[in-house]
Structure formats: structure tokens, C-alpha cells
């Protein structure tokens, strides 16, 4: 809360966060120049850049980015919506808690990569299986956060609301939602990056489009620059989604600063 606000950087040091990326680029270029590895294992930064321009021009980059991004967003929205609904029910109802807990704990600890092939068998190699994979990978952490968030609502504030004769709906909208919001948004931030992973895992198993498919395809053709371009694009997607949630967080949780 207080004090957690990040101090702004002194003016002269704005370049500090850039140091490491520049260093990485330099080391990369040096390794390539020394010619220790063949081009198809470690291509030069220039080759990657050229490839980037290439696939940007012929439309493959944006088309595949859009496929992965749309699957990710659909999975994220569906996964979050379902987990928040079920989480609310579980937090409110002991019976549902006892009913669902064992299953949830079992499923939660199974790696997605392990059951992703099943999802492709069941939902086909089109976008649906990727959306389902994304939704599932988001579902469990978000469910936990919802339950924890709602259970963390202080009893004293519940009593206050009761003494003010609040209706169940008022209790929800004026107390439970705002009280659980920090935990929920924290979960959403993690979920945003997880959803990208879900899509890509699905695409790795079987797909006809998407950045994950592009990576696989490029790998078969020893087109390592294209692999790198696609990986960087995925990093950009994840980072943008994360930042978007961060923005929402800063706006909605202004009171914490």
C-alpha cells in the first residue's frame, strides 16, 4: 500500500533499463561475428531484422499474430468469466467448496502440456482447441484468486454492511467486489500471460495458423530467423496484455497509492 509506490527514476538515469538489452544485442553480434555457430543455429541480429521486415511485408506476421491474439483473448475472457462465477459460488457455499475442491486440486496440478493433445482430439485442430486450452490454463489460478479474494473480505465490514441493512446485491457490489478487486486484478495479470502460453501450447500440438504454428513450421525449414521473430512477437503480445491489465489496475486501485 503506502510506500509501495515506485519512486520515479532520477532524470539522468533514464537509460539504465536499456543497458542490458543493448548488451545482449552486442554479445549476440559478437558471437555471430566470431563464426562459432553456423547461421541457421544463431542468425545475426541483422538477419532477424531482415526476416521481420519480410514477414511483415508479405502479411504472414500480422495474420498469424492475429490468430494467436484472438485465441488468447477469447480464452482469457472465457476462462476468467467462468472461474470468477464458480469462485464466487465456492466462496459463498461450503457444500460447493467440498464438492469441487478435490477435483480442482487434482486438475490444477496437472500440466496443461500433458492434456493439450486431448483437447485437440476433442475440439479439432482449429482455433477452438486453442481457446479451450487458454481458458483452462487461466481457469485454476483465477479461481483460486477469486475464492481467496472473496474470503479476505473483513468480517467487520460485513457487519457494518449488515447493520446498514444492505441487500445481498449491495453487499456484493459495494463490499465484495471492491474488497476482492486487488487480488482479482493480480490474478488477471498472471492470467493474461498464461493465456498466451495456452494458445501456443495448443498450436504446437496441431494447428494451421498462429505464431506457435509459425515457430514449428519455421523450425522444420531451418528458418531460425523466423523462429526468433515469432518468439519476439509472442513476448510482445504477453507484455502488452500484462501492461493493459496493469493500466486497469492503476486506474481502479488509485486508492492504494
Amino acid at each position: 500500500m503506502k510506500g509501495s509506490r515506485r519512486e520515479s527514476r532520477p532524470a539522468g538515469r533514464a537509460f539504465v533499463p536499456l543497458l542490458l538489452p543493448v548488451l545482449v544485442l552486442l554479445v549476440w553480434q559478437v558471437i555471430v561475428s566470431l563464426g562459432v555457430y553456423p547461421e541457421f543455429i544463431i542468425p545475426s541480429p541483422a538477419a532477424v531484422l531482415a526476416k521481420f521486415v519480410d514477414v511483415l511485408r508479405d502479411g504472414r506476421l500480422l495474420a498469424n499474430t492475429w490468430v494467436t491474439l484472438s485465441q488468447t483473448l477469447a480464452g482469457l475472457i472465457i476462462g476468467v468469466a467462468l472461474s470468477v462465477l464458480l469462485g464466487y459460488a465456492i466462496a459463498k457455499n461450503r457444500l460447493l467448496d467440498d464438492l469441487f475442491s478435490p477435483l480442482i486440486i487434482a486438475l490444477q496440478s496437472t500440466p496443461v502440456v500433458a492434456y493439450a493433445p486431448l483437447l485437440v482430439i476433442w475440439f479439432g485442430s482449429g482455433p477452438t482447441s486453442k481457446v479451450v486450452t487458454s481458458a483452462l490454463i487461466v481457469f485454476f489460478p483465477m479461481l483460486m484468486n477469486t475464492v481467496v479474494g472473496l474470503r479476505s473480505v473483513p468480517k467487520s465490514l460485513r457487519d457494518l454492511m449488515l447493520s446498514l441493512r444492505a441487500t445481498p446485491w449491495q453487499m456484493f457490489i459495494h463490499l465484495e467486489v471492491p474488497a476482492a478487486l486487488p487480488v482479482l486484478l493480480g490474478g488477471l495479470k498472471v492470467s493474461a500471460t498464461l493465456a498466451v502460453i495456452g494458445s501456443v501450447v495448443g498450436e504446437f500440438v496441431s494447428a494451421r495458423a498462429g505464431l506457435g504454428w509459425l515457430i514449428n513450421d519455421a523450425r522444420y525449414n531451418y528458418d531460425t530467423p523466423l523462429v526468433l521473430v515469432a518468439v519476439l512477437m509472442l513476448a510482445v503480445i504477453a507484455r502488452v496484455l500484462y501492461a493493459a491489465v496493469g493500466l486497469v489496475e492503476r486506474r481502479m486501485l488509485a486508492w492504494r497509492r
Binding site: 457487519d159 447493520s163 486508492w255
Partner: protein
């Protein structure tokens, strides 16, 4: 709202502890507080004072007997009653203004009317400059003033205050106590205030109820015969000392 009476009739509370053992926490206790009276409730720690407040506030049902507000048996939180606890219990995501306005908002009062009511109250609470501050930026005393504002804005017929100033330093609590007296002088709500501070009880109230050790019963009922309006100077008065001594006596014998 016109002030309302408070009463307990053969009221008992027994808690069931995990393991099934039962713990008599309160009573049987019987008392009646006429509308408009300012009563303080004192007693040893754990004797059931908070429990009594919660029952009168309709937050938990009695095990036996009845709590009455305006001569009606309490079965749910009565609309005439405002409750305030030891912790300010503010919503950290609401500004001072919105925290105070909460009861009105829940009651469906329009935004303009809420603003009007809150801004009439803020200067009297010494919070005029803090309408848009968040609770995280307030001192303990200011937070407690916000909580007081939140309970006063409903213009309740009776106030139930459970150690409302218990967490504050002596000077702050004396001042905020006198401010409460000023509000009470204007509105004449019935007040039942739990406190550990005999000095505070004598300074503020018309009457002091002393409870015995758990399960708390009525051990003494002391009238505070000091004139109104009260001021700090009254605390040096001979009668003040005598009343305080008799209350202390009653607590020790309880």
C-alpha cells in the same frame, strides 16, 4: 429521526465453542434506557459488552430473553440504530466523503442529497479539508471521526458505540468525546456507549451501567448528576471525583 428507547429483558447469550462446550457470555441482564439518554457501559474485559451491543444492533440473535429498540423486539438490524465499533472500519477504496455517505447511498438517497448531507457534517467533524482523502492517508483520530460521521449522517434515533475512541490517545479522545456531546446536544439521540475509561464515562454520560464479570449482569447503575453542558473543567469538580470513585468501586466489587 426522533430518538428511541433501548432495553434488554432477561437477555442472555451463550456461545457454543468448537467441541460443543457452551460458554455463557452474557446475562441474564435487564435494563431500560429512555429515549434521549446518554448511557455509558463499563465492565471487566470479556464480560459481554460487545456481545450486548451486537445483539441490540441486530447482528446476532439472543440465546434467551430479548433486546428491544423503540419497544420492539430486535430481530434484524433496526433502521433507527447506528453502530460504531472500536476500529474505524472504513472502506479503504472510498474517499472520506464516500465513506460517510455510504449509509445514505445504501438507502437510495440521491447523489445531490448525499453531498449536501456530508458537506454539512464535514466541518463539524473537523474534516472539511479531507473530503477527497482516502482512509489510508488519515490519522487514527481522523479515521474515527469519519466513522462517527458515517453513523451520524443517518441521523439515527439511537447510537450504539463500542469503545469508539478506545484506540486513541487521551487528548484526542477527550476532544472527540466533547464533539460527540455537541452532536448529542443538537440531536438528542439515545446513546449507549461502551468504554473502559471511567473518566470518559463520567464526563460524557447521564448514567453509567456497570457490568459484572462474565457472564455479565448488571452490577450497578450510577447516575451522573453533573450539570450540562459539560466541559473539561468539570473533571476537576469534587462531584466528578466522587462519581468516578463509586463507579470504580462498583467495578472492583463486580
Amino acid at each position: 429521526m426522533t430518538s428511541v428507547s433501548l432495553a434488554a429483558q432477561q437477555l442472555t447469550i451463550t456461545y457454543t465453542l468448537p467441541g460443543g462446550r457452551s460458554l455463557p457470555a452474557l446475562g441474564p441482564i435487564t435494563f431500560a434506557i429512555p429515549a434521549g439518554q446518554f448511557v455509558c457501559l463499563v465492565g471487566p474485559s470479556g464480560c459481554g459488552k460487545s456481545t450486548l451491543v451486537r445483539v441490540l444492533a441486530g447482528l446476532q440473535p439472543p440465546t434467551g430473553g430479548a433486546a428491544l429498540v423503540a419497544d420492539q423486539t430486535v430481530t434484524e438490524p433496526p433502521p433507527e440504530v447506528g453502530v460504531m465499533f472500536q476500529d474505524a472500519n472504513l472502506m479503504p477504496w472510498r474517499t472520506v466523503e464516500d465513506n460517510i455517505a455510504l449509509p445514505l447511498e445504501l438507502a437510495g438517497v440521491s447523489r445531490e442529497e448525499r453531498r449536501y448531507a456530508v458537506h454539512a457534517l464535514l466541518p463539524k467533524l473537523g474534516l472539511a479539508d479531507f473530503a477527497h482523502a482516502y482512509p489510508g492517508d488519515l490519522s487514527g483520530g481522523m479515521a474515527q471521526r469519519v466513522a462517527l460521521g458515517r453513523v451520524l449522517v443517518q441521523r439515527p434515533g439511537a447510537l450504539l458505540l463500542d469503545e469508539p475512541f478506545g484506540a486513541l490517545d487521551a487528548l484526542t479522545r477527550e476532544q472527540i468525546g466533547l464533539d460527540l456531546l455537541e452532536f448529542w446536544r443538537q440531536e438528542q439521540q439515545t446513546i449507549l456507549m461502551v468504554t473502559h475509561d471511567i473518566h470518559e464515562a463520567v464526563l460524557l454520560s447521564d448514567r453509567i451501567l456497570v457490568m459484572s464479570r462474565r457472564p455479565g449482569r448488571l452490577a450497578a447503575d450510577v447516575a451522573v448528576t453533573l450539570d450540562r453542558p459539560r466541559a473539561i473543567a468539570d473533571t476537576y469538580h469534587e462531584t466528578f471525583g466522587q462519581i468516578a470513585a463509586s463507579v470504580r468501586d462498583a467495578i472492583e466489587r463486580a
